[in-house]
């Protein structure tokens, strides 16, 4: 099978699995997850084959592999073509998507307690509450998810959308995959729809990303109108087209067309990748099951946003303003989200904010022109963030086990309730440690160090001091809150009985952790810069050349030389942050408050409440909208104006009605109608004769009329 054919087939297995699970195998849980994982494995196999082939090709960027078909006729002779294509960027994205998706699928089997008994009181739409084992007294164990098959159907659809997005060769099919993912994230965040918080979070995620998507659609439409095509090759690979777009004014804010459409598309990224100010949905999305968090926050949806931004970089880079906007939003988000993460106690929320922060890194990297670094960080981040989310799910799972076992009423997601889990859950601990160190950029070993270092040196080399400083500070904060998380969760002594009775999770959950931690370390080695002291050149910096070949003007920033300043900065911030985090949090006792909250209570409260942005949106947008709806539209317009008019009309009508009844109806009509009524039966008797019930007579009448009308028609219209 050629690569071209394989690319078309790549997204299909998960789609088929989705359809089969929904339509056929819904009742058989084992069959459902076998189907879903089998489909994911098929796609994974295909992806690996493709990656293995194209990674060794020279000049893939100039001659991407792919094929197109004519899809929609858009005029007399023009077609809207869609197609698939694999180029270096798509290849590396495909690589990490395939790995993470497959292992998230496998992990879900364990996470949803496959093999455990049915719950005592579990209901569809609520998380399983545990089952009581008969025979051993009151022994409670986790119970299987009631909507197990449904979950696998949804994540299969999600995987289908992600594969579609990655292999497509144009912005339209990318947008289709993008929107299907929006739907899936809505369905999955609201998976436990019995909880009000989950329902609200699902609606919030959908509406917030929708805001971005609308702008993105505007950008697509505008771009299509201006360029006449939506294919990557036709826009981003076409120097002439880029030049035309860059030099034609758009008439809005003095931007060129390239800048305007680039920014509009970028707003789509802001929504999908949860950048400030549309970041509010992502932390709430933690209401979904943990594999969903990993799926949304690592492998697929948020990556899709950054992927789009990297895709449109050739367009955006035509406009200085657009680049500036990107770097400001990215750097600000990176710092802003990192500060919030400092004060969160929910293990998953910390990760959610760190995701926002890391995505900000990538956007900022793009803004300063560090194209390769952004793609590099996208890949490494996908691996270690998927690892961290799955690890946190494993922790929560272990804690839930402890909670069920002891009957203690504590929140299994609150890190202050944990502690000492390294003994109980060694595999989870070590893999989480690897992920956390990768996130904080632990020097030399982890993937996160290399990609983060690359971003910092990109910003430094380009002379973007503000961005560099902001990113350095947020890297320090990242290391700090990561260590805080690790310390609170795994080190020290258990702070609750539940934590003391936590349990290591089954192999289906720990295996993905181990595989992903392998990548969290090694994924960075393909991008060690040549100029790096001692290590540089030991391993060929293949990533740089491979992805960097996507840019025609490649090499300006990269050739600027590797300075030691960013290197030392990243060393200092990573190690310093980790040490500080350990220092502050290693002594937290059971029931004690967060030391940070004791030291700086005011700041802590602000951060814990996420700068009150949700409250601000509530006041600034939601309440006014509600006020307009309730007070203005309903009370004033509806009740006052429209109802007033209606009442007036009704009153007038009533008066008129009275008048006609008394003056006209009673005297005139009633007498007439009574007279008429007396004659109706007679008329009926006459007409009855026509109604013979004989079909042939009806037909004679019908044909006679048709003939007469036809003759008249011909006589008056045709012959005249």
């Amino acid at each position: 099978m050629t690569i071209q054919t394989l690319l078309w087939l790549l997204p299909l297995p998960p789609l088929l699995a989705f359809a089969l699970i929904i339509l056929v195998t819904n009742r058989w849980k084992a069959l459902s997850h076998t189907l879903a994982i089998g489909a994911a494995a098929l796609s994974w196999l295909g992806s690996m084959f493709i990656c293995w082939t194209v990674f060794r090709l020279d000049g893939l960027a100039e001659h991407p592999i792919g094929s197109t078909i004519q899809w929609l006729p858009t005029g007399a002779d023009s077609w809207l073509s869609i197609g698939t294509r694999i180029d270096p960027l798509a290849a590396v994205t495909l690589f990490f998507v395939a790995w993470t998706v497959l292992f998230i699928f496998i992990y879900s089997v364990g996470y949803h307690n496959f093999g455990q008994p049915q719950g005592d009181h579990d209901r569809a739409g609520l998380p399983p509450e545990g089952a009581t084992l008969k025979g051993k007294g009151h022994h409670r164990v986790p119970s299987i998810e009631p909507m197990y098959s449904r979950f696998f159907a949804f994540i299969s659809l999600f995987a289908f959308a992600m594969y579609t997005l990655v292999v497509s060769d144009n912005l339209l099919t990318l947008y289709i995959g993008w929107e299907i993912m929006g739907l899936c994230s809505y369905l999955l965040i609201g998976f436990w729809y019995g909880k009000k918080s989950a329902r609200d979070a699902a609606v919030k995620a959908f509406l917030t990303t929708r805001v971005g998507d609308v702008f993105m659609l505007l950008g697509l439409v505008g771009l299509y109108k201006a360029a006449g095509t939506l294919s990557y090759a036709g826009i981003f690979g076409n120097e002439e087209m880029l030049h035309t777009l860059a030099t034609t004014g758009s008439g809005i804010l003095g931007l060129s067309q390239a800048g305007l459409f680039g920014l509009l598309l970028f707003i789509g990224t802001v929504g999908k990748s949860a950048q400030f100010p549309l970041h509010v949905w992502l932390p709430d999305a933690m209401e979904g099951p943990t594999p969903v968090s990993a799926m949304i926050h690592a492998a697929t949806m948020v990556s899709a946003g950054v992927y789009l931004s990297i895709r449109i970089f050739p367009l955006v880079s035509q406009s200085e303003t657009a680049l500036l906007v990107m770097s400001i939003i990215g750097a600000f988000t990176a710092l802003f989200a990192a500060t919030i993460a400092l004060a969160q106690n929910d293990i998953k929320r910390v990760l959610a904010y760190s995701t926002i922060s890391q995505l900000g890194y990538m956007i900022a990297a793009l803004g300063v022109g560090a194209y390769v670094a952004a793609a590099f960080h996208l890949v490494t981040h996908a691996f270690f963030k998927a690892l961290l989310f799955l690890g946190s799910g494993s922790v929560i799972h272990g804690m839930e086990h402890g909670v069920l076992h002891t009957g203690e009423h504590v929140d299994p997601q609150d890190m202050l309730n944990m502690g000492g889990l390294r003994v109980k859950m060694p595999i989870t601990f070590w893999t989480f440690l690897i992920g956390g160190f990768a996130l904080s950029g632990f020097p030399l070993v982890t993937a996160g160090f290399w990609s983060k270092d690359e971003i910092l040196s990109g910003a430094f080399a380009g002379g973007h001091w503000v961005v560099f400083a902001t990113l350095a500070v947020s890297a320090l904060l990242t290391a700090f809150y990561t260590m805080r998380q690790i310390t609170l969760t795994f080190l020290g002594q258990p702070r609750t009985k539940a934590a003391a009775h936590a349990h290591e999770t089954p192999l289906t959950m720990t295996l993905p952790l181990m595989v992903l931690s392998f990548f969290a370390i090694t994924a960075g080695w393909v991008g060690i810069p040549k100029a790096f002291p001692v290590l540089g050149g030991l391993i060929n910096p293949w990533f740089e050349e491979f992805v960097g070949s996507m840019l025609p003007a490649h090499g300006e920033a990269a050739e600027a030389g590797h300075s030691l300043v960013p290197l030392f900065t990243s060393l200092v911030v990573a190690l310093g942050g980790l040490y500080l985090g350990w220092l502050v949090y290693s002594k937290v006792k059971a029931g004690a408050k967060d030391p940070f909250a004791r030291a700086l209570p005011g700041l802590h409260r602000v951060l814990q409440n996420k700068y009150y942005i949700d409250e601000f949106y509530q006041r600034a947008f939601i309440r006014p909208a509600r006020w307009v709806a309730e007070e203005f539209s309903y009370r004033i317009i509806d009740r006052g104006l429209i109802d007033g008019i209606l009442h007036g009309i009704a009153g007038g009508g009533l008066g008129l009605g009275r008048f006609t009844r008394d003056q006209v109806d009673l005297p005139v009509w009633n007498h007439f109608v009574e007279w008429l009524m007396a004659r109706v039966p007679a008329l009926g008797r006459v007409l009855k004769g026509v109604q013979t019930g004989r079909v042939q007579q009806y037909m004679v009448i019908a044909i006679a009329i048709a003939v007469v009308v036809g003759v008249l028609f011909v006589y008056f219209f045709v012959l005249a």
């Binding site: 042939q696 004679v700 044909i703 003939v707 036809g710 003759v711 011909v714 012959l719």
Partner: protein, 170 residues
């Protein structure tokens, strides 16, 4: 008057006479037999029009199948219909007048048409190429959809008539 014209007139006269007998004869079985003759006349006219295929189809489908089916139906429903009394409705003259009017109107309208007296040119050899016709019936760019719909219609009629005519218990 050429030979073919004479032949046409003879066939047309026989066909029309048979058709009149179909609608007027008292014995329903005779009507069915007249119908066979009339259908055969139509088949001859198809042949005159150089459409040999449809002439054969006319004989096979109409005479071989439909007419026989009708004869069967006549036999099945014959018991009480001993063909006594008039076989036409009481007011039969009303339809007679009506169809006479319709005929006059049709011919009148047709005669004003410019192609009314058109003569046939020589027939292109591929016009009667049956394999071409068969290809067109299953060609995506030609008539595959009408063809398939006709197939479904036949199937529907088959199942429907079995369902309607079969004896139901209870």
């Amino acid at each position: 008057m050429t030979l073919s014209q004479v032949f046409f007139l003879a066939v047309a006269a026989i066909t029309l006479f048979a058709a009149v007998m179909v609608v007027s004869t008292r014995r329903i079985m005779h009507a069915a037999l007249w119908l066979v003759l009339s259908l055969f006349g139509v088949a001859v006219l198809f042949a005159l029009l150089q459409s040999g295929f449809f002439a054969v189809v006319q004989v096979v489908v109409y005479i071989g199948a439909i007419a026989i089916l009708i004869i069967f139906a006549v036999m099945l429903t014959r018991q009480v219909m001993l063909d006594v009394g008039p076989q036409l409705n009481r007011g039969w003259w009303i339809p007679a007048v009506l169809v006479a009017g319709l005929y006059a109107a049709l011919v009148g309208v047709l005669s004003t048409w410019s192609q009314f007296q058109a003569q046939a040119g020589p027939l292109a050899p591929e016009a009667n190429d049956l394999s071409r016709f068969g290809q067109a019936l299953v060609d995506l760019n030609a008539y595959v959809i009408p063809f398939e719909i006709a197939s479904v219609l036949l199937l529907g009629a088959l199942i429907g008539s079995i369902f309607v005519a079969s004896e139901r218990k209870g």
